[in-house]
Symmetry: C2
Subunit: 99 residues, 2 copies
């Protein structure tokens, strides 16, 4: 099933509700950087995201070094942001450590 | 305990024994790209590397999107490559799928 790209208005509304995420320069993805106590905490977090991502078949692009994780969410099938990115961002925010 | 940076001769010898890795342009790190059947396989592999990395306290820099993983190994304490990178590369090669 194909998935619709958010309209500009929908994207603005979604971003307003995700204050710790920023829009990538090209406007096609959202990005969040996280910092953890150590590698164990960072990879433990990544594992929770991985399980959820495979469950809903929507996978992040992400980079990790030691206690830092940078996550990029986009929907290739929609050539931009879709509600699936918003839902994944909400999941990540819910399990991320408080800043 | 500090760890020594490989000499040029040691580095050349190590790289010759790690044919699927390439030296980063600055000469301070080695890089390998891997491709898996799917995200489950890719993240399963990453989990094995993560457990080993934390055990030996030598962590990769890595990027993942769906079934692709790119790993960079370097030793910050040595400002370049050390035997710890070579050992981690060998571990990764041993559990990586055959190309």
């Amino acid at each position: 099933m194909s998935i619709a790209r958010l309209t500009d208005a929908e994207r603005a509304e979604a971003l307003a509700a995700l204050p710790v995420w920023h829009l990538r320069e090209d406007g096609l993805a959202i990005v969040r950087k996280l910092k953890f106590a150590d590698f164990n905490a960072a990879f433990g977090f990544m594992t929770r995201v991985a399980i959820q991502a495979d469950k809903v078949d929507h996978h992040p692009e992400w980079f990790n070094v030691y206690n830092r994780v940078e996550i990029t969410l986009t929907t290739h099938d929609a050539s931009g942001l879709s509600r699936r990115d918003v839902e994944m961002a909400r999941f990540i925010d819910a399990i991320a450590p408080q800043a």
